[in-house]
Amino acid sequence: MPHLAVLRFPGSNCDDDARHALERVTGADVRFVWHADADLGGAGGVLVPGGFSYGDYLRSGALAAQSPVMHAVRAFAERGGPVLGICNGFQVLTEAGMLPGALARNEGLAFVCRTVTVEVQRDDHPLLAGLRRGQRLRLPVAHHDGRYVADDATLDTLETEGRVVLRYLPAPDPDGNPNGAMRDIAGIVGGRGNVLGMMPHPERAAEALLGGEDGVPLLRAFGRAAGVTT
């Protein structure tokens, strides 16, 4: 049985949370991989966690994208390996060129921490297996730079290729788009659908005790794609 890898950059701060939630949901062995390591150690799936890697110096995720471990992650993804980037992890994946677009400063210019409603747009990707199209999930967000932006051509391509997989409810909804993301985009897939980047935190919604379990299906799908659960 393969294990799951959670990357650790200096400044990652959701690494422990991700490990805890993945262990709980998938029962798998979850190991940290240090940013300076160039080897994923045979992991079946890689989670790039939230936080402030390298203090978000330069731009969020920009320095982490250049770290040795990201070379290994890129190669892993090109072989079809499942990669899940959450929050700062999403920023890292866009900075690494593994996902298109960028995450810009929130529209309100302030950090935002609250629970939002996202709608599942696709259920035909392995990283969304078990979810239903149109299903609504209540997931926490916590970010300063979460506004998804891309040029129109990129956005149109994402839409036509069905790669926008999670969308916030439109902004007038009090639990809707928290950051001004273009086309209410909360999460997209890249590669062959095996790379998912999302701003909301499924690992914070993996226990009823903490207020919700809507993140569980996403973590479970990741575990399944990684071959650690059936």
Partner: protein, 771 residues
């Protein structure tokens, strides 16, 4: 990442500089006339000369001045603080270390402490608040504990003014910027507004950390021959003289003090935190201490003092950010994100390698000696030589105190002449919109309050924050409280009420109180009216903590909080902020304030008649800050706390809220807003009418020391009432949950407010202020 150069070898023992015991330090000798330059009075300067047996050189005078400042030496407060109870079976670490620690069961301890960053925040709110967070977090992980929650008690002036909005924005941004980045959730706190804080806001930050009992660390140098490691950021000129600055009158010149405010780097602190905890767990660390106020001077001085040993420090080894720094600047710099560690002998190289893996500077800067002195060398030259004991034993002062006659008069003022509200229905939304009472949602949504995935009760949802302990059924609760208007009118009584309120808040989530950290914010202690407030407040804390069995395990004193008024310099409202920690034995049994079921019975628990004295209602509706604060019976308070916590822990109550600012009407409105359900309640006429204003108004908006509201299914009301009675707590049914209105009756007064209107009023004020 580029490869690091190979580690330089540790200096063998013989390589440390040394000097004969009778050697005199090089440097400019200073005399009594320049004592003020170093923050010493002429009399204190004389004491320094006595301790040294000679006149000090400048760097020595500056080090004495820093450690004998109020901020480091507590010279005006130490005799008072000795009055506080510090012991109990739950105390694993009392005052004297970087933070106190209480036992929360299952082998876990919680390290907790509160500290102020008032003066820096007045000058530069973003960095002042940010470094306040950074500093208290270092105190926590210096105990070997992983920080897992932050709460803030903030005080500002008039929210209608541009200055207050600027400060509020900046302080919130500073707390958010630091806490969010380092990944420690900001889970609670309180924000209050009063004109006396206009010039001098209060920023008190409390942090909690989790440790296994066996991981508890000490800020000690260890033993003779141990090597002191300097770890973290390089030393710059920032924050020079901060300890003195924090203890000085804030003046018009303070804007020119901006270089005395440090700049924080949460990324570097995150590396420090992870590296220190990893090194502690690997058994490499003999002692660890944060470099806070007065930097290397206080950290190394305190570590040596705790061990009863001496230290030789080679200043030439201290990593520096700037060229040309003098020894004095190096010793007093308050550059952030620096620690001092002593390695377990034989593990020095392992420790340095571990720290460098976290990309941290880790440099041996000194060695522990048995001479009991704090000696500084630069190269081979001895440049300072002082007894460790004297440095750490600031002279103390017991001042003269007397009550301000204006406070006596205000407290004893009759309230009979105040007219009743023309429209009680308008009074409720108006109180809900009061900045101190209003929802702080717009603030806490800027704080990451969920990182670490332990936050079981979110900010605003209950009277205290609740954090689960992973791998245990237990949870920890924490709150910070102080109604400074009460303290201003009656310092002893008001300070006791702050302790009681904190305990009530913990009980309302189902936690048993365990311990207290206090942050005493007062004015200039040499002013008798201020010293009276301090001395009385400490007595009040003492009495309440004894009654509630919550020892004070640490804290902070911030003096000289004051402002310029037309008639001279005036102190801020006396504000002894109480931070309290408690434990829930079963995280599954807890309470929040939200009304979650229609038709629940509303029960009022506790004794005491609500009073308008010192109330938010009087201040808001009449602009009057007068009258005596709510009557306090400490035994009744203890019964309420024990009984309410017990009811929640027994699974009989899951909806509870204490009666605080704004009285029963505001408490019920907050419960209704949180749950999206209305209430219909009959509160009775209240106290015998002693004047028009008291009739009914006191029952609605009067405040009390030991009352709480719970909502339980009708079928359970009798059982809960009986259980309360068994605990000696009266309990009466006041109403029922349901509908979409807040309908309250009290004597001849009635109000009926739509839930939507109440919510709008509650949410509006702070949202607009932060927009």
């Amino acid at each position: 990442m580029s490869e690091r150069p190979a580690l330089p070898p540790l200096a063998p023992d013989g390589a440390w500089p040394d000097a004969p015991a009778d050697a005199l330090p090089a440097g400019v000798v200073v005399d009594r006339t320049s004592s003020a330059t170093f923050g010493l009075t002429p009399e204190e300067f004389d004491q320094v000369v006595d301790h040294l047996g000679r006149s000090p050189v400048a760097v020595e005078a500056a080090m004495f001045g820093a450690l004998w400042s109020e901020h480091c030496g507590y010279k005006n407060s130490r005799p008072l603080l000795r009055r506080l109870p510090t012991e109990g079976p739950q105390v694993l670490q009392g005052p004297g270390e970087n933070a106190g620690v209480v036992d929360v069961g299952d082998g876990w301890g919680v390290a907790f402490k509160m500290e102020s960053h008032n003066h820096p925040s007045a000058v530069e709110p973003v960095q002042g608040a940010a470094t306040g967070v950074g500093g208290i977090l270092r105190d926590i992980f210096a105990m070997g504990a992983r920080p897992f929650a932050v709460l803030d008690a903030l005080r500002f002036g008039d929210l209608a003014t541009a200055r207050t909005r600027y400060l509020l924005h900046g302080v919130v941004e500073g707390i958010a910027g630091y806490g969010n980045a380092i990944g420690v959730p900001t889970v609670g706190g309180e924000i209050a507004f009063h004109p006396s804080y206009q010039e001098n806001p209060l920023v008190n930050v409390m942090a909690l950390g989790l440790l296994r009992h066996e991981e508890l660390q000490s800020g000690t140098v260890g033993a003779v021959g141990h090597v002191l490691l300097y770890v973290g950021a390089k030393t710059g000129r920032d924050g020079l003289g901060g300890a003195v600055f924090a203890s000085a009158d804030l003046s018009a010149a303070s804007d020119a003090d901006r270089p005395a405010v440090q700049v924080g780097d949460p990324f570097l602190e995150k590396l420090l935190l992870e590296a220190c905890l990893e090194a502690i767990q690997a058994g490499m660390v003999a002692g660890v201490q944060d470099m806070g106020a007065a930097g290397l001077t206080s950290s190394v001085g305190e570590m040596a003092h705790r061990a009863g040993l001496g230290v030789d420090l080679d200043l030439g080894r201290v990593p520096r950010r700037e060229r040309g720094m003098t020894p004095l600047e190096v010793m007093l710099s308050e550059s952030q994100e620096r620690m001092v560690l002593t390695a377990v002998p034989g593990r020095e190289d392992d420790l340095i390698a571990l720290l460098r893996r976290w990309e941290l500077d880790a440099v041996p800067i000194g060695v522990v000696r048995d001479h009991g002195r704090f000696r500084l060398f630069e190269g081979d030259a001895l440049i300072a030589d002082m007894p460790v004991g004297a440095l750490n034993d600031a002279p103390t002062y017991v001042r003269e105190g007397r009550e301000d006659p204006a406070a006596t008069a205000a407290r004893e003022r009759g309230l009979h002449d105040l007219p009743p509200p023309a429209d009680a229905g308008a009074a409720l939304p108006d109180l809900l919109a009061d900045p101190t009472i209003a929802s702080k949602r717009a603030v806490y949504q800027r704080y990451d309050h969920q990182v670490m995935t332990n936050t079981v009760v979110l900010p605003g949802a209950a009277d205290a924050a609740v954090l689960r302990l992973k791998g245990s059924d237990r949870a920890v609760a924490a709150t910070v409280d102080c109604n400074a208007r009460y303290v201003g009118l009656a310092p002893r009584h008001g300070a006791a009420l702050a302790v009681v309120e904190a305990a009530r808040n913990l009980a309302a989530v189902g936690a048993t109180p365990l311990g207290v950290t206090d942050n005493l914010n007062f004015g200039n202690p040499t002013v008798p009216e201020v010293y009276f407030q301090m001395a009385e407040a400490v007595e009040g804390i003492r009495e309440a903590c004894l009654a509630l069995r919550t020892p004070v395990t640490g804290g902070n004193v911030s003096l000289y909080n004051q402002y310029r008024a037309d008639d001279g310099v005036r102190a801020v409202l006396p504000t002894p902020t109480i931070g309290m920690v408690g434990v829930l034995p079963d995280v599954g049994r807890r309470a929040t304030m939200a009304l979650v079921r229609d038709d629940d019975a509303l029960l009022l628990l506790g004794e005491g008649v609500p009073t308008l004295g010192a109330s938010s209602y009087l201040a808001r509706a009449h602009g009057v800050e007068a009258g005596a604060p709510p009557e306090l019976d400490l035994a009744a308070a203890d019964r309420l706390v024990t009984t309410l916590a017990g009811l929640v822990q027994a699974g009989r109550v899951d909806t509870a809220h204490d009666v605080g600012d704004g009285g029963i009407a505001v408490a019920l409105a907050e419960m209704a807003i949180a749950g999206g359900r209305g209430v219909d309640a009959e509160l009775g006429a209240g106290p015998a009418p002693s004047g028009a204003v008291a009739d009914g108004v006191a029952a609605l908006f009067g405040e009390a020391a030991h009352l709480a509201l719970v909502a339980v299914p009708e079928a359970c009301a009798a059982t809960v009432t009986a259980a309360a009675a068994a605990g000696g707590v009266p309990c009466r049914r006041v109403g029922v949950v349901g509908g979409d209105r807040i309908a309250l009756r009290a004597g001849t007064l009635a109000l009926d407010v739509a839930l939507t209107e109440a919510r709008e009023a509650f949410e509006r004020t702070i949202t607009e202020a932060l927009a």
